[in-house]
């Protein structure tokens, strides 16, 4: 089993996140898992686990969290935020984490921008797929196959 040693933990990390706009309520989390259970990303991507990310923050795993690709996978849908019984606002937490990752050099500013553009792009892709599904089944299959080709690659 993996080991986490307290001497490698950064106790300050949770306070830093809480001090960052968006991260204010992170410490209120009591790890019920509602965010994860209702998350559309988690539903398709078991690596994306909001409860786990919060846990890592609270324990002080600064490097692991800020350098992790998963914090970039949130689609910012607010599902976690509306369902949270402790008002943690995980969607905003990811925003804070992303910005901290940039400031602290775990990611560059371009990445932040590109992910935001990507969100727009993936919404467009979704729109096209839905439209194709309704109007032109063949086109839909083609588009979907192509998209799957890319994701599987």
């Amino acid at each position: 089993m993996e080991k986490i040693e307290s001497k490698n933990l950064d106790a300050q990390f949770k306070y830093d996140v809480a001090a960052h706009p968006g991260g204010e309520n992170i410490k209120l989390c009591f790890a019920c898992g509602t965010c994860t259970a209702g998350c559309p990303v988690s539903a398709v991507d078991p690596e994306f686990n909001p409860r786990k990310i919060i846990r890592q923050v609270l324990l002080g795993m600064r490097k692991e969290v800020l350098s992790s690709p998963v914090i970039w996978r949130c689609v910012q849908c607010y599902s976690c935020t509306v369902k949270c019984p402790q008002n943690v606002k995980f969607r905003n937490v990811t925003k804070a984490l992303r910005e901290m990752a940039v400031t602290e050099g775990y990611a560059d500013a371009d990445l932040l921008q590109e992910v935001e553009q990507l969100d727009e792009f993936s919404q467009k892709l979704r729109r096209d797929l839905v439209n194709a599904l309704i109007t032109d089944r063949d086109k839909f299959k083609k588009l979907k196959n192509k998209a799957e080709e890319i994701t599987n690659a």
Binding site: K3, E5, S6, Y15, C32, A37, S42, R51, K83, Q86
Partner: protein, 1498 residues
């Protein structure tokens, strides 16, 4: 109300009057809330000598506990343990139960409050109602029952549950329904709708006929303004009220049901002439006939009916229907003279000469208005009145090919549709405004259009042109709508240049009707309006001519039928008053302000079916004849339609109950009453409300039928619930195979503003899961939870049993969503498992464990009381004295001040009684009363003379069992000298009668054959005492519950069984002897064992009530565990509190403190204990009446986690000590707490309850003293129940890290220079390595090591954890089964300071109940030993739960021993009799011999 009050109520004057100069206090207490808390507080206070008013807003006491199926952790039936308390409370002479009532106003201050109470109208006379339930049987209105959490129904007349006290019904009336208010005649519409829904068509029709005649006519032609008012109209189509009325009239006609004969006055009164036989005249005539007058209608035309006959064509109102309904009116005593024109054939003068004392002019508006157009005089221009009269004459008439009608009223439509039927090729209506303004009935307009009528809106005729004197075309102009005119409709304005022409060969103007008064002098001098109508006083329809009244279209101009009818009713009323020489008394017609605010069951709105439509002729069929177009609703349709009704006013005032009630208890015209009472103190115990689960949308409650709330599931489980205890899905009645429970719905959730923990849901969910498993062996039950909060006494054992024995699954996860899978009826629950991402499980039924919320109206209540709320909306109480509100003299307890379970609620209730009793100690027994009975007649040497009273119970028994035959049969039984049958044997007059019969026939034994002795035996026993008989010379035979109810369809056998039951009762009662109770003196002093928080608080509680206390403490100092505590959430400075408490105790004049003293021995029993106290070597003997055990507990010294071997490892108490020192945390970078050290493990399977809160309090203290220190709390479940949840949240917010560990994988601690701790972090699934500088162990609370020794001394039990075991874990939390001994504090189980204080006060209350009595009365039916048969084996002493039996020396000379039953302690349970091998013990009054006789009598 027969129960609770005797026939003769001899109240003797209070023993003590208010003593002069002492105080002005009032020796009475108002208890608000009739749940278990209110019941307990009321009982305690009444026993403590205070008069109690118990106020309850619902119709019966019992509260939420009455709704529960079972209770945890013993699985006792909730109702079974509650109902004896309810009965006791209801019958207590000094408790006045005021139900269905609200607090209005409070003034005054502690010791002297004035309270105003609103007693809501019950509409049932409580003195007369016997609770037989016949009314509810016949009531047609069914609404969702709040008691059944809306998965079951009740009637508008109801009692919440069968065991309710008071056992009387109440009518739920919330105002008047809007339809009824919308009806100009005020017909009781919801009444007949409700009866129609219940298939009571005849009764329904009678409701209509009570108010108006002509139901079949109205059902066809009424413009039904009622339907516009229908609440269903907002969002759905209104109930088809008019069509239902027509159905009822048609149903009667087609089925030839006998019409209800109307009671008429015996004497015929004056003659009244009515001119005109339209609906107004007919109604007035009928009403006058009903009042006893002789009405005569004069009609100018050849047949009666006015516009109904001559204005409405047959396809809408067939003439045979009208004729028959007019005949119905005439049959009520109305004379009709046709072909008599007023003013021509008969004059006003002639009428007066013919002895008519009043005249009603109901002349109608019989002339068509002129348009004033060029060409109006042309041939084939016929006004609509003349045209329709021709149509209705039955003569064959010619119409043109292109017929044009001008106007937009009903006459226009009628003319148009008639013209079609007469062969017109094209029919056009020209109307100058738009469709919205059109006055005709919208349905009629639609039908006309369907039939092919063309309507030109916003067009008006300009002139008519003709050819050969006949009309040939009509020039029209387009209009637009301008500003509204005085009628409120927008005025049409011509658009210049928009003229157009319609080719037409017949024009029918239908632009209005005029009133034509008779020519000549006849009505000369009658006032007219500027429109030519008769001017009347609208209130009473009188004209300016004496004795002349006017109604109908002649007064109002053309109006609807129902309005004409409404006026007819007023005229009849006015004439009645006029002829009696009385002032006009207006008819009682509901007004707009009476409308009920909203329908009772708004949630069901979405499920209401669409409106039913009647079948119609096809258009082709319609226009080819004058046959009726609409066919009316079928019976099924009418019922379905009636069932759509929202029952806005709940009670429909159909009066079915009035007829059904044999006791004549229904009083529909009751009003609310406001009463003032004076009290010295107010105790607020209104309880809680459950969280409305619909607020959590994601959980699907109210979207999916099979997502239910926990209280609904409680009712599903309950044998008395809507499914009779069969666990099934509400949607389809199927048995669920998989059930899920979701915890924390509306709790620990700040998104719905409830951040607190509701404390009880974990346990009730486990209980419901276990009971579900007991009901359905194979059901799969899963509980989704976050922290399992089984913190109470024996709760963890229950939790473990649920897992191990019942196989209930527990998943630690909060569910995010519940969805129904497409095409399947199972519910998908989505959650995130501990190590994993997203998971889904399917279930058939989901139970939402809803939290507890403050009462919805608590803020209003609080305002009236002047107390304040805490932030969550519960009533604020002092942190360390949870019974005190912010206002002196007003106390609070139970769930009103925060979520809590039943034992804690009951404890607090008793504690509030102690508080109030303390406040009112010097006015004790000033307002209470005692019953006085005549001296008992000595019957010992007389042969039995038995009287038997057999009850019909209305028709409850009488409709099945032949009661008179049974009574007659009883006369033939041995020793029976008198027998009779009664309608209600329990009624007040029956008690008087029984006493008379006892005296008259010298009866010395009585048998009542009726219902259950559990509810009614005390009442009859009291009657016996009032008649001078010993109450035990009585026996009941339950021929209702055990006979008529269970053999409903076997009348003959039931009668035979009733005879057998009576025979058995007679056999048993014959040899019965009078029984007396033991009456013993009481020593008014209490002994408190233990001088800690519980002991000191209890001692003060007793001493402040004015009684002496001896307080014994083993240690040299008072204080107990308190001496080691520094701060808690409730009290930041425990030592200061202790010092204050200690001083108070030591200085109290009523308390004798013995420190360094042990209890050496104890003898005696309740009221009469003798104890020996040993201080060093000195012995003190004391006598006392009661004992409180408050011996406390202690913190366990652990031997794990290096405790005792490493000084960095400390317990919580040691940490508190450390934290109180200088610089306690220097060098502590990491502090780690380990929870549940020694708790919740085999051997010690209990939660120590306070450790989570203590740890969090201390963690916060560390963060406060040294914010840099990292604090980890390693836990199994965080159990910060109730409002302590907020501190858990604060701790997280301050940065305390909580890491959960499993019981089978505990943290491991090693260390030399550095402590090293390893624990598995479950969410990351990894090992966490910590290096604590301070390791704090939350060690369990142990019971005192001497508990077992003391238990033996007191003969009271301890549980397997060696805590003292109370008499009943739910309802007797501070008492032992052995009378006179009580328990409080840690001796009972681990608890917090406020909880200990409440329990100590409750124990004080109980002890005072004993020592405040002059005499202690034992039970009458107790065990008695036959010493000749007793072998002194002693088995009886072992089985007695009350420790009432002991083996004593009975003959010193011979040394013979035998068992002895202490009459003060025996409860007559009979266990000793059952176990006695030599048959030496019998319970008096239920002896083996008597049982034998009963069996032989079968």
């Amino acid at each position: 109300m027969p129960e609770g009050q005797g026939g003769i109520r001899k109240m003797i004057a209070p023993a003590k009057k208010k003593r002069s100069g002492t105080s002005e206090k009032t020796g009475a207490v108002l208890v608000i809330g009739g749940g278990i808390a209110g019941i307990q507080a009321a009982l305690d206070l009444a026993e403590l000598g205070q008069k109690v008013y118990l106020l309850e807003s619902s119709p019966a006491i019992g509260g939420n506990m009455a709704r529960l199926d079972k209770t945890f952790p013993t699985n006792d039936c909730s109702m079974c343990i509650l109902s004896p308390k309810i009965v006791e409370c209801g019958r207590h002479l000094n408790i006045e139960t005021i139900t269905w009532a609200q607090l209005e106003e409070v003034s005054g201050s502690a010791g002297n409050f004035q309270v105003k109470i609103r007693k809501r109208a019950r509409y049932v006379d409580m003195e007369k109602c016997t609770g037989c339930g016949e009314c509810a049987e016949v009531c047609p209105v069914t609404v969702a029952s709040k008691f059944e959490a809306k998965i079951g129904d009740r009637k508008a007349i109801f009692r919440p549950y069968p065991q309710a006290y008071p056992n009387t019904f109440v009518i739920d009336k919330t105002g008047k329904s809007p339809c009824r208010v919308g009806c100009p005649a005020g017909i009781n519409i919801n009444g007949y709708i409700a009866l129609t829904a219940a298939r009571k068509y005849e009764e329904a029709l009678n409701i209509i006929l009570e108010t108006v005649p002509l139901p079949g006519v109205l059902g066809r032609v009424c413009d039904h303004p009622c339907e516009l008012e229908c609440h269903l109209g907002c969002g759905k189509e209104p109930v088809s009220i008019c069509a239902i009325k027509r159905f009822l009239a048609d149903y009667q006609r087609n089925n030839g049901q006998p019409k209800k004969t109307v009671k008429r006055h015996q004497q015929e009164l004056a003659k009244v002439a009515i001119i005109g036989s339209g609906p107004a005249g007919l109604t007035a005539a009928r009403e006058l006939a009903r009042k006893g007058y002789r009405p005569v209608i004069f009609e100018a035309l050849s047949k009666p009916g006015g516009m109904l006959a001559w204005g409405i064509p047959d396809y809408r109102l067939p003439s045979d229907i009208l004729e028959q309904e007019i005949q119905d009116v005439l049959d009520e005593g109305v004379e009709l003279i046709c072909n008599t024109t007023f003013g021509l054939d008969i004059t006003l003068e002639q009428l007066r000469q013919q002895d008519f004392e009043a005249v009603i002019l109901a002349l109608g508006a019989q002339a068509g208005s002129k348009m004033g157009l060029e060409g109006e005089q042309l041939e084939n221009v016929v006004d609509c009145i003349a045209f329709l009269r021709e149509v209705n004459s039955g003569r064959k008439i010619e119409v043109g090919k292109h017929v044009t009608i001008i106007g937009g009223g009903n006459s226009a439509i009628d003319s148009a549709r008639s013209a079609l039927r007469l062969g017109a090729k094209q029919v056009t209506i020209v109307y100058r405004r738009s469709r919205t303004e059109m006055p005709a009935i919208p349905d009629e307009i639609e039908t006309a259009e369907r039939e092919g009528v063309k309507i030109f809106y916003l067009a008006a005729p300009e002139r008519l042109s003709g050819k050969d004197g006949k009309v040939s075309s009509m020039e029209c102009i387009r209009m637009k709508l301008g500003a509204p005119d005085e009628s409120g409709r927008r005025r049409p304005v011509k658009i210049p240049g928009s003229e157009f022409t319609i080719e037409t060969d017949m024009v029918i103007p239908a632009i209005g009707q005029k009133v034509i008064l008779p020519d000549g002098d006849d009505l000369k001098g009658i006032e007219q309006t500027r429109w030519g109508t008769i001017n009347t006083d609208p209130a009473d329809t009188s004209t300016n001519l004496d004795g002349v009244f006017a109604i109908g279209d002649a007064v109002t101009g053309p109006q609807s039928v129902i309005k004409a009818i409404a006026q007819g009713r007023i005229a009849a009323q006015a004439i009645d008053c006029y002829l009696r020489g009385a002032n006009f008394e207006p008819l009682v017609i509901p007004h707009r302000e009476d409308i009920t605010p909203e329908p009772p069951d708004a949630e069901s709105f979405s499920r209401i079916l669409p409106r039913q439509h009647q079948e119609e002729l096809s258009v082709a069929e319609s226009i080819s004849s004058f046959d009726e177009v609409e066919h009316g609703l079928t019976q099924e349709q009418a019922r379905t339609e009636a069932q759509r009704c929202l029952k806005c006013a709940v009670c429909s005032e159909c009066m079915a109950c009035v007829e059904a009630c044999k006791a004549e208890a229904i009083c529909q015209d009751q009003r609310d009453v406001i009463e003032q009472i004076d009290v010295g103190s107010i105790i607020v115990l209104p309880g809680f409300e459950e969280f409305l689960a619909g607020q959590k949308y994601d959980y699907g409650y109210s979207r999916y039928d099979d997502v239910v709330s926990s209280i609904q599931f409680e009712r599903i489980l309950s044998a008395s619930g809507p499914f009779a205890g069969h666990v099934q899905r509400p949607s389809d009645g199927k048995t669920p195979k998989r059930i899920a429970f979701l915890q924390c719905v509306g709790s620990r959730d700040i998104s719905c503003r409830n951040g607190y923990c509701s404390s009880v849901c974990c346990m009730y969910a486990i209980k419901e899961a276990v009971i579900a498993k007991e009901h359905l062996k194979d059901v799969d039950v899963t509980v989704f939870f976050m922290d399992m909060r089984a913190f109470g006494k024996d709760f963890d054992k229950y939790y473990e049993r649920a897992k191990a024995e019942y196989g209930v699954k527990f998943i630690r996860a909060r569910v995010s969503d519940i969805n129904q899978k497409n095409g399947s009826d199972s519910l998908v629950v989505q959650y995130s498992p501990q190590s994993g991402c997203v998971a889904q499980d399917e279930f058939d039924l989901v139970v939402l464990s809803v939290g507890l919320e403050p009462m919805a109206d608590s803020s209003a209540l609080v305002k009236k009381l002047g107390v304040r709320l805490e932030p969550n909306g519960f009533i604020w109480s002092e942190p360390l004295n949870p019974l005190r509100t912010s206002k002196p003299g007003v106390f609070v307890g139970g769930a009103a001040s925060g979520p809590k379970d039943i034992p804690e609620t009951v404890t607090q209730a008793s504690a509030t009684a102690s508080e109030a009793s303390q406040l009112l100690a010097d006015v004790r027994n000033t307002l209470t009363t005692k019953r006085e009975f005549p001296p008992e007649i000595d019957v010992s040497n007389l042969p039995p003379r038995i009287g038997v009273f057999v009850c019909h119970c209305g028709i409850n028994i009488g409709s099945v069992v032949d009661v008179p035959v049974t009574a007659e049969y009883a006369k033939s039984l041995p020793y029976v000298v008198y027998a009779e049958d009664n309608l209600y044997t329990c009624s007040q007059d029956a008690q008087d009668h029984i006493r008379e019969m006892i005296a008259k026939y010298k009866l010395n034994r009585v048998v009542v054959a009726s219902c259950s002795p559990r509810t009614h035996e005390p009442l009859f026993q009291q009657t016996l005492r009032e008649a001078g008989l010993n109450p035990h010379l009585f026996e009941m035979a339950n021929i209702r519950d055990q006979c008529s109810w269970v053999h409903m369809n076997q009348a003959e056998q039931a009668t035979n069984k009733a005879k057998s039951l009576v025979r058995m009762a007679v056999a048993k009662v014959a040899p019965t002897e009078p029984l007396q109770t033991a009456s013993l003196d009481v020593t008014p002093l209490a002994l408190v064992i233990g001088g800690g928080l519980a002991g000191m608080t209890a001692a003060l509680g007793i001493a402040d009530q004015g009684f002496e206390v001896t307080l014994v403490e083993r240690q040299k100092q008072l204080g107990g565990n308190l001496r080691n505590l520094r701060s808690t959430f409730a009290e930041p400075n425990v030592q200061a509190y202790l010092a204050h408490l200690q001083e108070h105790v030591q200085k109290h004049k009523n308390i004798a403190v013995y420190t360094g003293t042990e209890l050496e021995s104890i003898e005696g029993f309740v009221g009469n204990f003798q104890s020996t106290l040993k201080t060093d070597s000195k012995e003190t003997k004391i006598e006392h009446g009661a004992i409180i055990v408050a011996t406390g507990g202690n913190e366990h010294k652990p031997d794990e986690y290096l405790y005792g071997r490493d000084k960095r490892v400390v317990t919580q108490l040691e940490l508190e000590d450390l934290l109180s020192r200088q610089e306690p945390l220097s060098g502590v970078n990491t502090a780690v707490f380990i929870q549940c050290v020694g708790s919740r493990e085999e051997e010690h399977m209990y939660c120590s309850r306070v450790c989570c809160s203590t740890a969090i309090n201390n963690a916060l203290k560390i963060k406060e003293l040294s914010p840099e220190t990292e604090v980890y709390v390693l836990y199994r479940d965080i159990r910060t129940y109730g409002f302590n949840e907020q501190y858990f949240q604060t701790a997280r917010d301050k940065g305390v890290i909580f890491v959960r560990y499993e019981a089978d994988n505990k943290p491991k601690v090693t260390g030399r220079d550095k402590l090293k701790l390893t624990v598995r972090e479950p969410l990351l699934d990894c090992e966490l390595l910590l290096e604590p500088d301070l390791l704090v162990l939350s060690s369990r609370i142990n019971p005192d090591s001497d508990n077992e020794k003391l238990a033996q001394l007191l003969k009271v039990p301890v549980n397997e954890d060696r805590f003292f075991l109370e008499a009943h874990v739910k309802l007797r939390p501070v008492e032992f089964a052995t009378e006179g001994i009580f328990v409080a504090g840690l001796a009972h189980s681990p608890k917090s300071m406020p909880e200990t204080i409440a329990q100590a006060k409750a124990a004080a209350s109980k002890a005072c109940i004993i020592i405040s009595q002059d005499k202690f009365e034992g039970e009458a039916k107790i065990a008695k030993v036959d010493i000749n048969r007793c072998s002194a084996c002693g088995i009886c002493t072992e089985v007695c739960a009350y420790k009432a039996v002991e083996v004593i020396l009975v003959d010193e000379r011979l040394g013979t021993k035998a068992a002895f039953v202490n009459p003060a302690l025996c409860k007559g349970c009979g266990t000793c009799c059952a176990i006695c091998r030599s048959g030496a013990i019998d319970v008096e009054g239920i002896s083996n011999h008597q049982i034998d006789l009963m069996i032989k009598a079968i």
